[in-house]
């Protein structure tokens, strides 16, 4: 059976989370427009935080896969 790799799975997880937050943000802008924030700062800080989060996921997932002596892929049943 074909399996989803951990990186693609991670990508979809964060994409789903991002879309959820985008919907929340659109809803917030409609209900309370004018949320403060400098776009450049948000992009810079958000990207750096995202990179750190990716590194956390990278080492944790791969570390545990090696520890469990399992293949570095996730089957749907594992989820």
């Amino acid at each position: 059976m074909q399996q989803i790799g951990p990186f693609i799975l991670n990508g979809f997880h964060f994409l789903a989370g991002g879309i959820t937050l985008l919907l929340v943000m659109i809803w917030r802008m409609k209900s309370a427009p004018g949320v403060p924030g400098d776009l450049k700062s948000i992009l810079l800080i958000g990207s750096a935080a995202g990179l750190l989060l990716f590194l956390v996921q990278l080492f944790n997932s791969w570390g545990w896969f090696i520890l469990l002596r399992a293949k570095p892929v996730l089957s749907p049943a594992c989820m």
Partner: protein
Amino acid sequence: VIIVPLLGMLWGDKALVMTWLGAFFWALHVQFIARFSPRVDPIRLSLVQALFTSLISFGVGFFREAFVPQQVLTTSLPILYGGVISIGIDYTMQVVAQRAAKPAHAAIILSLESVFAVFWGWLLLGEILTVRVLSGSALMLIGMLISQIRLTRPLKPGQDREADQDSVSRRRQIQG
């Protein structure tokens, strides 16, 4: 989190080295969020963070892994659940909470993730709690409580702990 992987490094266990690296970057992330989250809107920060992590993951994944759209469709519900609950709510709550909470306190609470996972797995999914699982959860809880016990002299009535510590360190600096 720190000692076990370090021991593993001494024994040459690659998995524990990677776990330690994961813990290191996690600690960096907690500190980073504590420093920068008060400056920007938490929802926007979480949104950019999630999309950027997704982008890098897809970038690496498309080079290293086989992409099977059918499997993604089959597992869309668990992916959606994990994405909305874990990424959408969990990481946003972290950003919001760390605007006020101290990074050390936030890290201790966040390290209880596996304990909460066991609890919700038991409550929602009816998972069986073995002695091993319960022992692990109890040890983590005890570790968290021990880390919060302050081995300092008792405060006098009306004395502030932070102010007391600040005054001690300032006094040491002057004496030194």
